[in-house]
Symmetry: C2
């Protein structure tokens, strides 16, 4: 376990141990030590027993010679993996030839004078040695054993360190840590709120916060000019690989601030976390890109800029094309765009797989072209394209021999989306050795649906860049909203907020929220805006995603101490679960009749499993 | 506002301000500054307007001379209290005679070259000057204005600082910060759990944690030898003056630890918080007292040891008394005890009020005696007591002329409880200038009810001091549980935990929890105990109570950013509240029919107020 040694001041005052197993070195030779930890490995060499003793500081080898009677024979021979033991002994040099240079303590061993079993262990449901792939369900069910493994243990330490780094920056910058409530008011928009029935006020509910948004704005109104919090937030929906029903974010807000101050602060935070987790990034300011630019060049508002492979608009090359597929798309107002996938070296089957892949992500088709040594293009559609068109493609995509070019023709949104995904498919590097941060700015106020319907892209407290533009051309209006992206993942987002009650009313109107509706949903907040609200702006940064990328972990569950599954269940404790009727009665609620009826049907087919 | 200046690095990068109002001093004379904040006061002196500009760093006086046109006349004369403004100006010396030595910025003022109103304010619901007592309901409804006041602002900063102090000690001592889940499994004992219906698993519920108890024990099993967390916890009941439906505690646990290591850590934490909040306490170790001693001498497990006034057992003096009230009590196995209330100087009415007070807290009666100058006792019962008895009382209570002695005869528990309360009533100092910390240790395993029934005094994972004693004499058995008490308030509690599955099973048995019941409630935890659980111990320290005592605040709501009322309501946002039926339907729950019926009845008599 590559961990730093713990502070051992308090450990020295312990009844059971005087030092950590993993901190012993040659300068400790001759020292009498008292260790406590777990039996990670056990080897019997001609009567002498060797154990690797593990604790939170690492490992050390312990030698148990039955002739020196560190414990009764039956205890020594009964020792099993993961028994929790205490060892009193002396640090000595390992015999020549047995030094282990891979282990920090590999030059020494502890000869036991006494061994005491503090508690025994049943056989483990899976090995802890890290050499075996273990089913995630089993790992979560025995998370307390899983976290004895190096991987989880390292991730928990990294997470703790990341959060400390965030707090240190915030403290240094004069931010005040304020705890906002987690039992808050549900709003009628809160179809997504998690609710908490009140016992003292039966039939009434609290909601759990999806973010501390309105409370942090209230803090700005309250004159707390710099606020931060490591905040727990909740969302009972949309379980994708990288979402959890509860999650943690660094949440901050600054009064008398605009976008620049927020972005500068985020960069300070991100750099500190990166450095404290042992990574490095260059001194250049984080790349900044508008939403429009990100979509146009990368087909995504979360561009992975570790590699270039920009999307290029080739439409002009086909203004007069005879190739009907392209001509039709252009006539319909669509576009033809492509990426240069580089030296993919794919055989025909591999190229066809790319076509299927593109179709899977929403393309009607994908044109591939391989650049031959003589510069000509090999492609199923080459014969339909004129020499000029082929030359324009090659020059537009800076083609060199051996490159694979990928072209999509469709509605522009589809083209960008598909090429953005194909770009990641063929170009995205494995792992996270490189860290490429991007600020995406100038997000649109509205997302335009397939049917042309507008839906707000951010919460309605986000300031528009230009109120007139919002009113007169809402579909192209831009807001003062920004995201931080790392290696193609969104780490967080924020915005400049509306600080003026009249502008807020206007924005509600454009968003189709009636005065009455606004009053019912946010009346108390609209009132607060009327008491000298300062201009303010802020951000929220997801802790788990950031740490998982820095740790090279494929999903955020790896950096969460006790995660839930993708469907929100905890295999360890069995939550969520049915509860007794009388427990609900005390809260003044009941399970809906249709749900109970469904249970009854299940019970008819299956044996009942829970008392309801 | 007596606050430290903020770090101004980032403020300098701000668009709207270059420095804080409260940090300007004579060494800034001549500096051109850009300030932003709120109009705290406004005075019109012959056309020249003076405002006190307030921001999070404090106040400074700003001079607006209309002749120098810092803003159009109508803007200058339209300025109102709590308008949010930006001022560009020059720092200059205040004219002789107008220096204000009470204000940190009192030697200087800022002459405005320009003033801009960033946002206006409606007239306030209450003044912010701190000179008026304001109804707490109104303060909570406008908490964002309330926190512009010095009192709340100071308390929020103190709270933030206290939490940082706690974290600093934990970090220095090698504790790992780990976030435990807040959506956990409800247990059938969880009649007190707050529940959260799951949307994805209709009819199933998460529970909010009353503490991270089992998760922190799992972390110990998982090999995290030192865990801490500033944890949000929940309890929807028992709204006393000093409880909230959600609250925050410093939660920590150590493996291979016993009571001594935990108490040493708590003392480190408490001393750091005290120091960082600007208080001082002596170097002596915190007083330590057994539960039995605390009850016997102070009539409370939360002894306020800022003053002595111990309870004295006087029973022996009355072995052969003729005073029937005392004789009867002693014959019934009760006792006669007293305290020396000192120089109370009460007239007859005051003494009678003490008797009523004692009856209010459960005494059948209270005997008062005033020591006359000649050492004799003046008391309504004096005539029933022999000279020897009177002399024994006087010597037992170390009486000196002018002292008021208070005596109660009853069941011993009642006597101790009543005298403990009377002791606080007559002896407890106002305010918190002195800080008296006490560790109360050796708590009993069971509380004995009036009917003799035993109920566990702590959670069932608390280690008994002696398992045999627990089995054979449960009513007097002692557990390895301990509390930290400050000035008569419990700040937190903890214990050594059971780390052995067999002992845990035995303790469940003594507590009357059947195997089946234990399995249903804690099966997953009992299984975890079987995998090499280390000995461990921990503690939880309430943040709000500690900070409120250090800040001299009478209730914890004063140190909570957005507190709820004693009945769990938030007058600001209106939570908890009724929600729409379809919102509940999505969660697979409904409001219980009897609650809906009660609403209908209300609606018949009152106009309906909420759409349900």
């Amino acid at each position: 376990m590559a961990q730093e040694p713990m502070n051992t001041d308090l450990m020295k005052s312990g009844l059971l141990k005087t030092t950590g197993a993993g901190v012993l070195r040659e300068h400790d030779l001759g020292a009498e030590v008292q260790l406590a930890g777990w039996v990670a490995r056990r080897r019997d060499h001609g009567g002498v027993i060797f154990i690797d003793l593990r604790d939170s500081t690492g490992f050390v080898q312990v030698v148990l010679n039955p002739e020196e009677a560190p414990a009764p024979e039956d205890v020594l021979h009964g020792l099993r993996i993961e028994y929790c033991v205490q060892v009193m002994g002396t640090v000595r040099q390992r015999p020549e030839g047995t030094v282990n240079p891979d282990l920090p303590t590999g030059a020494v061993e502890v000869v036991a004078q006494r061994l005491r079993v503090l508690s025994t262990s049943e056989p483990l449901p899976f090995p802890l040695d890290g050499r075996t792939d273990i089913d995630e369900g089993l790992r979560l069910q025995y998370r307390y054993l899983d976290m004895r493994r190096d991987r989880v243990s390292r991730n928990l330490r990294a997470r703790s360190k990341a959060i400390r780094a965030m707090r240190n920056v915030m403290d240094e910058q004069g931010f005040l840590e304020v705890e906002t409530p987690t039992l808050i008011a549900s709003t009628p928009e809160g179809a997504r709120d998690m609710l908490v029935p009140s016992r003292l006020r039966q039939g009434q509910f609290y909601a759990l916060p999806q973010s501390p948004q309105l409370f942090k704005q209230l803090l700005m109104i309250g004159g707390v000019e710099r606020y931060y919090q490591i905040a727990r937030c909740y969302r009972d929906e949309d379980f994708r690989a990288d979402r959890q029903v509860e999650f943690t974010q660094l949440d901050f807000e600054g009064a008398f601030w605009g976008q620049e101050e927020v972005l500068a602060t985020i960069e300070l935070v991100a750099r500190r976390v990166v450095a404290d987790l042992g990574h490095s990034i260059g001194p250049d300011p984080f790349v900044r890109m508008t939403y429009a630019e990100a979509m146009e060049s990368y087909g995504s508002d979360k561009p992975d800029v570790r590699f270039d492979m920009k999307i290029v608009d080739l439409s002009e090359a086909f203004t007069d094309t005879d190739f009907k597929a392209f001509a039709g798309v252009l006539a319909d107002g669509g576009s033809v765009r492509g990426i240069n996938g580089g030296q993919l070296g794919l055989a025909r089957a591999g190229l066809d797989a790319l076509v299927s892949e593109a179709q899977d992500v929403g393309a009607k088709g994908l044109v591939w072209m391989v650049v031959e040594d003589d510069g000509s293009l090999r492609s199923p559609v080459a014969k339909f394209l004129s020499d000029t068109e082929q030359a324009d493609i090659a020059s537009g995509l800076s083609a060199t021999p051996g490159d694979t070019l990928l072209i999509v023709a469709d509605h522009t949104n589809t083209v960008l989306d598909v090429l953005g995904r194909m770009r990641l498919h063929v170009g995205q590097p494995d792992g996270h050795d490189e860290l490429a941060f991007v600020f995406v700015v100038d997000f649109p106020v509205f997302e335009v649906g397939e049917d042309g319907a507008l839906s707000p892209a951010h919460h309605p407290f986000t300031a528009p860049a230009d109120l007139d533009a919002l009113v007169h051309a809402p579909e192209t209006a831009v807001s003062k909203a920004y995201d931080l992206v790392l290696n193609g993942s969104e780490l967080g987002s924020g915005s400049v907020r509306i600080h003026d009650a009249a502008m807020q009313a206007k924005v509600f109107e454009v968003m189709g929220i009636s005065d009455e509706d606004a009053e019912g949903r946010f009346g108390w907040f609209l009132e607060a805006l009327r008491y000298g609200t300062p201009p303010h702006a802020g951000f929220a940064l997801g802790v788990a995603r950031f740490v998982s990328i820095l740790q090279g972990e494929p999903n955020i569950r790896e950096v969460i101490p006790f995660p839930k599954t993708q469907t929100g269940a905890d295999p360890l404790t069995g939550s969520p679960s049915r509860v007794k009727k009388d427990q609900l009665e005390e809260l003044g609620i009941c399970v809906a009749p249709d749900v109970v009826a469904a249970w009854a049907e299940e019970a008819d087919s299956d044996p009942p499993t829970t008392d309801t």
